[in-house]
Symmetry: C2
Subunit: 412 residues, 2 copies
Amino acid sequence: MPTLVMKFGGTSVATLDRIRRAAKRVGVEVAKGYDVIVIVSAMAGKTNELVGWVQETSPLFDAREYDAVVSSGENVTAGLMALVLQEMGIPARSWQGWQVPLKTTSAHSAARIEEIPPENINQKFAEGMKVAVVAGFQGVSPEGRITTLGRGGSDTTAVAFAAAFNAERCDIYTDVDGVYTTDPRISSKARKLDRIAFEEMLELASLGAKVLQTRSVELAMRYGVKLRVLSSFEEQTDTSGTLVCAEEEIVESNVVSGVAYSRDEAKMTLISVADRPGIAAAIFGPLSEAGINVDMIVQNISEEGRTDMTFSCPTDQVARAEAAVKKAKEDGIINFHALDADTEVAKVSVVGIGMRSHTGVAAKMFEALSAEGINIKVITTSEIKISVLIDRKYMELAVQALHDAFELEKAA
Amino acid sequence: MPTLVMKFGGTSVATLDRIRRAAKRVGVEVAKGYDVIVIVSAMAGKTNELVGWVQETSPLFDAREYDAVVSSGENVTAGLMALVLQEMGIPARSWQGWQVPLKTTSAHSAARIEEIPPENINQKFAEGMKVAVVAGFQGVSPEGRITTLGRGGSDTTAVAFAAAFNAERCDIYTDVDGVYTTDPRISSKARKLDRIAFEEMLELASLGAKVLQTRSVELAMRYGVKLRVLSSFEEQTDTSGTLVCAEEEIVESNVVSGVAYSRDEAKMTLISVADRPGIAAAIFGPLSEAGINVDMIVQNISEEGRTDMTFSCPTDQVARAEAAVKKAKEDGIINFHALDADTEVAKVSVVGIGMRSHTGVAAKMFEALSAEGINIKVITTSEIKISVLIDRKYMELAVQALHDAFELEKAA
């Protein structure tokens, strides 16, 4: 039998009625002849409640106990989903991480999946079980303790199961009906994409399009798992949602696939840094140790042996970044004249695998922003992405202007 | 190191503050030099929520999934308790049933404990762990699935651990401060007992004194586990609460230890039954098959080959009992003239191991009731108990009168 993995997120299983609705979707796939592995999250809100309790016990809690507590939400959903499927006449049973077993490292709260031996579940499929409902987000360490994979870990669980069971596809049911050319709340012209390449999805995800957890997309790319994102709240057909797949499976696409944004960015500039080999390492070493998520980095042209170094990071890390840089100065590791922090910026990016074979994307982007009078503060580029930092107040305008300029409302 | 088992029920761990309070009690015992095994229930209300969800999915749910869902509440408390203890500087970790492992039969939702190998936990004690926090009420079946022991199973878990680890004592922390001579809500003279025999506790528990689950008392009696019932809401000394122990450890006691009652009883009488060998089996077989909890049974003196047969059962089972008896008549299994159901009765009992060596208890009981003008409808006796059915409206009066007559307000 071909195997299908279906993953339902917290809002898709928030109530018994929603679990029933999700179960109906599972029933449709079972009727098509699939052996189905369903990965479930905790009912919406439950994980936050559990995390809140743990945090209240102690600021520096034992991550092993955190995992033991927090993983319980998924167990509840898995059992309920199995019960609802049985009530529909579908042979189903629930599996907790340790029962599969989903083996992970011992890095509690951020464990990595090491192995998913398929034997136990396959044996039940062979005995007539049609659906294995697996509690997402959790596994078991070599020491036999419960681990969790970190927030959004249920997406990763789903993709890992799809890889381990050679599933035909991994369907991620969520509260949006697919991946859009941009955020529909910002541009009413946003269009749902039928297909998107793994690489594009990675750029969109890390840029703030929070549809899929980045790790799950990386894993899908590595193992060639076809991922489909679709809504658990709408009737589905075979072409519903967005398929995240290898570049080769996308026949036609626009040069630019989407416009992403990240609102809470800050731009920090070290003015007049001594320009010498190793200076970047001297600056970004201490920032990394302080846990700052440095994103864009730009070094200006050096004049008379000194240069300006600009980088961006999330707004809420600015204070920590300033402290780290100042301490590095005090310690004599780096030297600069002034530190300038601009916390009123946002990042806007255009993303598309078509850029690899098309030129002129950057020029068109800058032109569109210029036509709206938007000043660009920092630019970075990669093979399939161009990002700019701009004043935050222009963010929505910039997204709309770029969506129009690249005519993303039209399919290729 | 001597081992102590401490069990905290749902109300004792209902909030983080209460868990902290319970943890302080644990800390006191650790300071005395004990290795402590803490058994925890789910936070009050949580199990009911989970059971409600399961029941909503299906009237005839799969008990294996029920267990997987319902056991999650205890896991949460166990993790939180371990975190709070760690925060107090006490080396502690949580254990779920399958991690111990607490091995049970496969009778899901009503599993029996088969074995608790102490090696895993003892190894951690040897490594310096001071407290093992174990999720109560749950275990693992030979098939590797999660089982639960039925309602109140955490008491049973606690006693089983005390037996498996040869604990010095098993302290059951609850929302009452011990076992009383009768319900203090009914008689203001009710007195807390310092000690009570296992046998007495069993009679009191099954008669409605819901302090300890019957199974846990049976288990404690079989393995000679000293049980102490005490309040988690009061400061404790070494003589707090009530010790439930073997008869031999009770030096002095009143002839009668307590007065128990059961409010919602019904008395049913089959009038003019053909009196022949096997008639009792013919009547009570069908009732047993219908799941009726028949309690007292009285057969009147036979006259001319016919007799009246009276039995009691819970009020809410009367309709089912009537149906079962009538069907047995239609099927020709039994024959009687009329069926009389009195649903306005209550049961009152006096219990005491002293009855074994003292006579006149029954006479004194009947006299006390007679002095209040209370008519006795049915009488049954056992070695350490005398029970009567009376009109429900006299129940409180009867309890008070008996408490006075046997002077239970005075210690032996």
